[in-house]
Amino acid sequence: MNEGGPIDCDLHPTVPALKALLPYLDEHWRETAVRRGFDELAPISYPSVNPLTARADWRDAQGKGAAGPERLAAEALAPFGTTLAICNCLYGAQVPFSEDIAAAFCRSVNDWMAREWLDRDERLRASIVVPMLSPELAAAEIDRVAPDRRFVQVLLLVSGELPLGRRPNWPIYAAAERHGLPIGIHAGSTYRHPVTPVGWPSSFVEDYVHQAGGFQSQLTSLIAEGVFSKFPALTVVLLESGVTWLPAYLWRLTKFWKGLRSEVPWVSDPPSSIVRERVRLTLQPFDAPPERAAVMRVIEHIGSDEMLLFSTDYPHWQFEGAAAVPDGLDPTLARKIMVENPRRTYSRLQETVS
């Protein structure tokens, strides 16, 4: 393993079809899925035909992106000299309303990931997909999968049934902290609530733009509920969240914290400090300003060079060619984002896995 190579912190292997998961379901759920004729668990956060879901030159003959580890290696690892890559599977395993179905499919996705991807390319790592609507079953899945050291993170969707900071979710954070795993929060929703605070939008582009708003309100929830003080060793990584919204959001949150901290006395540090120490964000999409010079202005507004983690968001369409690093980013900082920051965030990446 090349110790100094780039680490891609957000890639999305595609489950080709529900059929591919059948071998990884236990007998009851395999039979149920077939006899009841389950449809694909393909969530509307990334409709399969949508241009954003897979860049045109990364789609195979069937129109799927990231269809196998060989293509992923050629298209997402080779162009950047990537030495380690964290796979975040976005198949809708955590979306079903039944917690039993969700738990069964999350187990199958994690086992499929280990066999079909991690076993086939030693550069690959993955996040543990969990049935987030049942923190008890989610914690059990974390305990089951975590001994495989190639799983480096727990994966949640940004919008589920309850705000992420709420106490019923805490067993998930306790399990992650116990195993030394960051919580990765990815764009996407289980659609128990509209994706905006004012109801359902009409288009995909609105849904996608507003994912950033979802991250903002969930970060408020995690901070206000005291998750960062309750779990002092926990790191939170925002995946495909957008980046440039962060400074303005923190200015507003920190101002209201000054005025309202008596409501949340356990939040003893300014939210901006908590976020700089405990929260990380992946690079794509950056939501870059049009002027090159403004990119480093925004980095100054963020006030930290440790928060950003390199990602391509492969196969999602965020950039052309190999332009994964925003134009205008200082080269020294870019190197830190590609190598050092991911290593410090994911302790398991330091390990040699045999």
Partner: protein, 374 residues
């Protein structure tokens, strides 16, 4: 209500700021009113049927409580503890407001935004009756008595036909400066059910103001109901982003190019990044929304304004000026939010280095231009 207020004379600054200012967010309140119910101060403007209806059935919103807001505020009625006139609620006494705020802060133009006006009430006919009464009350008790003040046409926005009738009633009346929505609506504001309201507002030459809060019934996060008031307060910025995204991508500004939208009390620093994000996604996905002819940021530059309070406070504060450069100094309207607890004092709220032209624009000239006040 349990009250703990500061009974003391209004504080007077030692020196009055030289600059005359526009305050684009002032909250008058009918005597005795809170959230839920209808103040008796509005009864003279309500038909007998609705007075009896309110006395018998009350006025309710899409939220759990009969009285009060979904989350307990940080202060009684979310108001300054020193802003309570003897025996009544903040914002209910013009003389007190003038002595505490309008005179010492040299307010030349104050835009009134009543918040307990029946907007978003569950019963649409009651919403129409109470908003109409509130408009009558604003003229009778505020704008006719103080020429610095302009009223907002409060409308029952979930009922477009009734809203259009109310706007047409106020067309050409110099007492009114804008049409007012609350931000937490039943649908995103770009939805076509609201378009007749925008068409009527544009025809009347009135900007549409959208003030934080409301009762749309949806949680402030896309992942459910938070626990705390601070989450709701911070979340108003996400709600305003969502309604702006909706208006742009549904093509409202293409359909009604003369429409002016003023986003009130949700901050503004987020507008720069939101514009960048929308432009990046529009460049790839515009085929889905052919009604959007220009990059989304361009509509923000021509049709949208932001009030300052509660202004973001970066450290160092110079970063606020950099951010406003990205948004446009001509987009920014000063506001205090008097008499609410998070009041921004015009002497201290914007300590960013501004040119004299920028200062005059933000504190007065932009507002005069948007609201058509000479």
């Amino acid at each position: 209500m349990n009250l703990d207020v500061l009974n003391r004379p209004a504080l007077q600054p030692e020196t009055t700021p030289k600059l005359a200012i526009a305050d684009c967010d002032v909250h008058p309140r009918p005597r005795g009113s809170g959230i839920g119910g209808v103040s008796k101060a509005l009864y003279p403007y309500l038909p007998k049927y609705w007075r009896e209806h309110v006395a018998t059935f009350g006025l309710t919103y899409r939220q759990p409580w009969e009285k009060g807001s979904a989350y307990p505020k940080g202060q009684p009625l979310a108001c300054r503890r020193d802003a309570w006139p003897d025996g009544d609620a903040p914002g209910s006494d013009l003389a007190f407001m003038a002595a505490q705020h309008l005179d010492p802060n040299n307010v030349a133009l104050g835009i009134l935004n009543p918040l307990t006006s029946g907007q978003g009430a569950q019963n649409p006919d009651l919403s129409a009756a109470v908003t109409h009464a509130t408009n009558e009350w604003q003229v009778a008790e505020w704008t006719s008595r103080d020429k610095r003040l302009r009223a907002s046409v409060v409308i029952p926005f979930e009922d477009a036909a009734a809203s259009v009738r109310e706007i047409e009633l106020r067309t050409g009346d110099p007492n009114f400066a804008q049409v007012l929505f609350l931000s937490r609506t039943a649908d995103p504001l770009g939805h076509r059910r609201y378009w007749p309201i925008y068409e009527a507002a544009a025809a009347a030459g009135l900007p549409v103001g959208v003030h934080a809060f409301g009762y749309g019934g949806w949680p402030i996060t896309a992942g459910g109901w938070g626990s705390f008031y601070i989450e709701e307060m911070v979340g108003h910025a996400q709600a305003q982003q969502a309604l702006l995204v909706s208006m742009i991508f549904e093509g409202v500004f293409e359909r009604i190019p003369t429409l002016k939208v003023v986003l009130i009390e949700a901050g503004l620093a987020w507008a720069a990044s939101l514009a960048w994000r929308m432009d990046r996604q529009w460049a790839k996905l515009r085929g889905e929304v052919p009604q959007v002819k220009r990059p989304p940021s361009e509509y923000m530059r021509t049709n949208v304004w932001f009030t300052t309070q509660p202004i973001e406070e970066p450290e160092p504060r110079a970063q606020l000026a950099e951010t406003i450069e990205w948004i446009g100094w001509d987009r920014v309207l000063f506001a205090t939010d008097y008499p609410h607890w998070d009041f921004d004092d015009p002497a201290h709220a914007l300590p960013v280095r501004m040119t004299e032209t920028q200062r005059r624009a933000v504190f007065l000239e932009n507002a005069k231009a948007v609201y058509g006040v000479v």
